[in-house]
């Protein structure tokens, strides 16, 4: 019957979704490790830098595996399975580079990687950057969410830096957040998740400004 056919189709999609989800979960787990490592980086600079680079390498392999499965199917049908994980990875990659904690990319300290650079770091060959291609890729939206998330991290970082007597980080953080803020104003965002995420940026900007202001007194 028609309902049996429907069920078969649904079952197929669900099992695929499950497989993708379980791959995404391993990425999430490694992301948590990476986030902790980046937290420790404040205190014990260079020592953790190797671990951070390794962790990103692990994530890169896992994304490749995910991409392999995902690329056999319609990208946009399943994108919601992995988009949050990719946003987090994008954020952490940006953060690692900004902090100068990414080996081979130390020159990017206090800078934000572009979408293309993030794509290259995570997988130069398999991850095309622009959305017209329907193979697995890091989308503009995912990258932009990552950029907004890193601003939150930087604002927090400023506060902690002050405790450890670091005056450079607050200033650089403020610069970066200001850049992000003005770049985003170029975009005409719809009333979607990106817009809501962007709405929170002004608080981060204010926070970073306050820290720099307090520091100057």
């Amino acid at each position: 019957s028609i309902f049996r056919e429907l069920q078969a189709k649904i079952d197929h999609e669900t099992s695929l979704r499950d497989e993708l989800s379980s791959r995404v979960e391993t990425i999430d787990q490694e992301s948590k490790v990476l986030r902790l490592l980046l937290g420790e980086f404040e205190i014990s600079n260079n020592e953790t830098s190797i671990d951070i680079t390794k962790s990103i390498e692990v994530i890169k392999v896992k994304i490749q595996e995910l991409a392999k499965v995902a690329s056999e199917h319609s990208y946009y049908k399943y994108v919601n399975v992995w988009d949050r994980a990719i946003q987090e990875v994008a954020c952490l990659t940006l953060l690692a580079a900004w902090r100068g904690a990414l080996q081979g990319h130390e020159d990017k300290k206090y800078q934000l990687l572009t979408l293309e650079q993030v794509g290259q770091i995570l997988n130069a060959t398999l991850v095309p950057v622009y959305p017209e291609e329907v193979k697995f890729h890091i989308s503009i939206e995912e990258y932009l969410h990552g950029v907004l998330s890193i601003s939150t991290e930087l604002a927090r970082l400023s506060v902690n830096a002050v405790i450890y007597g670091n005056k450079e980080v607050p200033l650089k953080s403020l610069q970066t957040i200001e850049n992000v803020h003005s770049s985003f104003q170029l975009l005409s965002l719809k009333n979607d998740s990106l817009r809501r995420h962007f709405d929170g940026l002004k608080y981060q900007l204010k926070r970073a400004e306050d820290v720099v202001y307090d520091m100057r007194i």
């Binding site: 309902f3 429907l6 069920q7 649904i10 946009y76 622009y130 291609e133 503009i140 975009l187």
Partner: protein, 203 residues
């Protein structure tokens, strides 16, 4: 930055396309609703509806024209990105066509029926068919008194079996599950209402 200008261009294109698709979906919805209205009107005097019934021809043509436009828009590799934007119209269209089919045959139109003239997303078909049961309920409430008890009961049975089949669907993703749950709740209510008619018919 230069990259952000590129972003703006891409995001703007996507936005424009999405808006065009939503407009098409709305137009299909409007035409489908008018078609359902005409079907209720026609079936109030003639039931089953004759196979050669053609008062909805104009609307069908309009719908097919819009479906053509939609097909063009979706002829890109990222078509799935806009699936959610055109679903409401497609569901309404299924509802209208399935209702006409039921009025003519008292049975369920198949998703690959030639009348549809497009390849349906399976789940839009299910949800559209669920919506159709509401029209059948309205039809039975209005005209139930004209029918023999045994006929009304067989129509109730049709609704019940459809309900059971939809309820048996498993493994849906959360969003589809919630959509279906809500429609099935409405269907339960429709069936109860038809039962009440039977009850008062008996007394």
């Amino acid at each position: 930055e230069v990259e952000f200008q590129q972003f703006q261009r891409v995001l703007q294109e996507q936005q424009d396309k999405r808006e065009r698709i939503i407009r098409i979906s709305r137009e299909i919805t409007i035409q489908s609703k008018r078609m359902i209205f005409l079907l209720h009107q026609a079936s109030s005097t003639k039931f089953p509806l004759p196979l050669e019934f053609d008062k909805t021809k104009q609307h069908k043509q309009n719908i097919q024209k819009q479906l053509g436009l939609l097909k063009q828009e979706l002829d890109t590799p990222d078509a799935e990105r806009y699936a959610a934007s055109c679903s409401p119209g497609i569901q309404e269209f299924v509802e209208a066509y399935a209702f006409e089919y039921w009025l003519q045959h008292q049975s369920l139109i198949q998703p690959n029926d030639a009348k549809f003239q497009i390849d349906l997303q399976s789940f839009d078909y299910v949800l559209g068919v669920c919506d159709m049961t509401g029209e059948i309920m309205r039809f039975l409430i209005t005209h139930g008194s004209k029918f023999a008890m045994v006929d009304v009961l067989s129509h109730v049975q049709f609704l019940r079996e459809l309900n059971l089949e939809c309820t048996k669907l498993r493994n849906l993703n959360r969003r589809s599950q919630n959509d279906l749950k809500q429609k099935l709740g409405v269907m339960d209510n429709s069936i109860s209402k038809v039962e009440s008619i039977c009850y008062s018919k008996i007394l």
